[in-house]
Amino acid sequence: MTTGYHPLVKRLLDGELSLAELPPELRAEGEEALRLAGAADRAPVALSPALEERVMATVRRHAASPGNRAWRWLNTPRDVELRLRVRPWTVWAGALAAAAALALLLGRPAPEPVPGAQARGDMRDSVLVRFVLYAPGAHRVAVAGTFNQWDRAAAPLVPAGTSGVWTTTLALPAGQHQYAFVVDGARWVVDPGAPAVNDGFGRRNSIVAVTAPGAHL
């Protein structure tokens, strides 16, 4: 509305100048601007009668939503009086139990600086180990053990020609592992060329000892 007014007339509208302070050639424009501004200020604002109803309906709907009710319930301050009667040692015992639980949560107790840190570092190295089983007539052979969560399908052996010899090569971390061969998906067979220990189920597990430079079966 004031786009076309002279800057001095705009200052007049802002109250920074009086009409008498305007140059004579701008007084008529100033008077017209004041008249228009005065008329605009006095014009009554007429709102639609339905507007208030619509606004209030929206406010009521919003206030009645379950989310808002829950928020108000959670957010409204209340006076709560809590009285506890405890013996100090029970508090300490509870705190100790919580601390112990936290320690368990954070992991096993840290091992002492026992000898062999270097050796354990070496044990993490992987070494290729060849597994061989003579199983003529077998249709499928696999090797399962502590190194693959005893998964019967994780490490299949492949037949070496038609001689009945099955073989596979796996990368195992240095250290010792227990294992067994699984013939045709069901029959667990110890490695006849490896030492074996009781598996706790009345059977035997073979043991492979893997050293950094090679494997000893």
């Binding site: 040692w89 026992v114 000898p115 005893w150 019967r152 030492p195 220990v197 598996d199 189920f201």
Partner: protein
């Protein structure tokens, strides 16, 4: 009142340990073992965890049993027996002066117990493991030697002798393979181990230089008429 407070405290501790064990064990066992085994292993693992024992071997044993198609009750019995061996191993390792042993050492001790070593021998094996030898490795090598048929007492002496002779951890880990090589050449496991003990630096600790295992002949002295 005091008794109730103590009971509540203990119950709280046990519940927390049980909850943590269940958290640690359940994801590993899901869809690998039956719900019955899963529940039982969680209880056993909670007890083990409360005693500071490693839980992973118990999980592995349960998974192994299920993979092998072993009936539930036998899987649970095996897991329970393993937990017992882990507890015995923990006591033996502590007896050797390691106040807070790592899980791998405790597991190695349990392997040695399973192979026929006594708790006292497990303590001896841990005591003899000085740097750079890892007690867990020492225990597992000894267990493997016993599994090969080397008498436990002789296996203990062979391991002790190898470490005393300042051999490397790789040399120690290679002992079972060397015993097997000796057996392949016709020696008994005891004879093969005795040969290694002599080669490792002479006689086992506490023996005279010309000591040989029982049942074997002393070699003839070429300088003696």
């Amino acid at each position: 009142m005091r008794t109730i407070g103590l009971a509540v405290t203990l119950l709280l501790g046990a519940t927390l340990a049980g909850g943590l064990a269940a958290q640690a064990v359940q994801p590993r066992l899901d869809q690998r073992v039956s719900p019955e085994v899963q529940r039982a292993v969680q209880v056993i693992a909670a007890d083990a965890m409360a005693h500071g024992l490693p839980v992973e071997p118990l999980v592995q044993k349960a998974i192994e049993g299920a993979a092998k198609g072993v009936p539930n009750d036998r899987v649970i019995a095996a897991v329970r027996a393993l937990a017992g061996r882990l507890g015995e191993s923990m006591a033996a390792v502590r007896e050797a002066g390691v106040a807070a042993p790592g899980g791998d050492v405790v597991e190695g001790g349990a392997d040695a117990l399973n192979a026929g070593f006594s708790g006292g021998q497990v303590s001896d094996l841990v005591r003899v493991s000085r740097p750079p030898h890892d007690p867990a490795l020492t225990l597992r090598v000894a267990a493997t030697l016993a599994a090969l048929g080397v008498p436990t007492k002789q296996a203990l002496q062979l391991v002790q002798g190898t470490i005393s002779a300042n051999r490397s951890p790789s040399d120690l880990l290679g002992l079972p393979g060397q015993v097997q090589a000796g057996v392949a050449q016709g020696a008994t496991p005891a004879q093969a181990a005795a040969g290694l003990a002599r080669a490792a630096g002479g006689t086992p600790p506490g023996r005279l230089p010309d000591w040989v295992p029982p049942g074997q002949q002393k070699p003839k002295n070429p300088h003696k008429p």
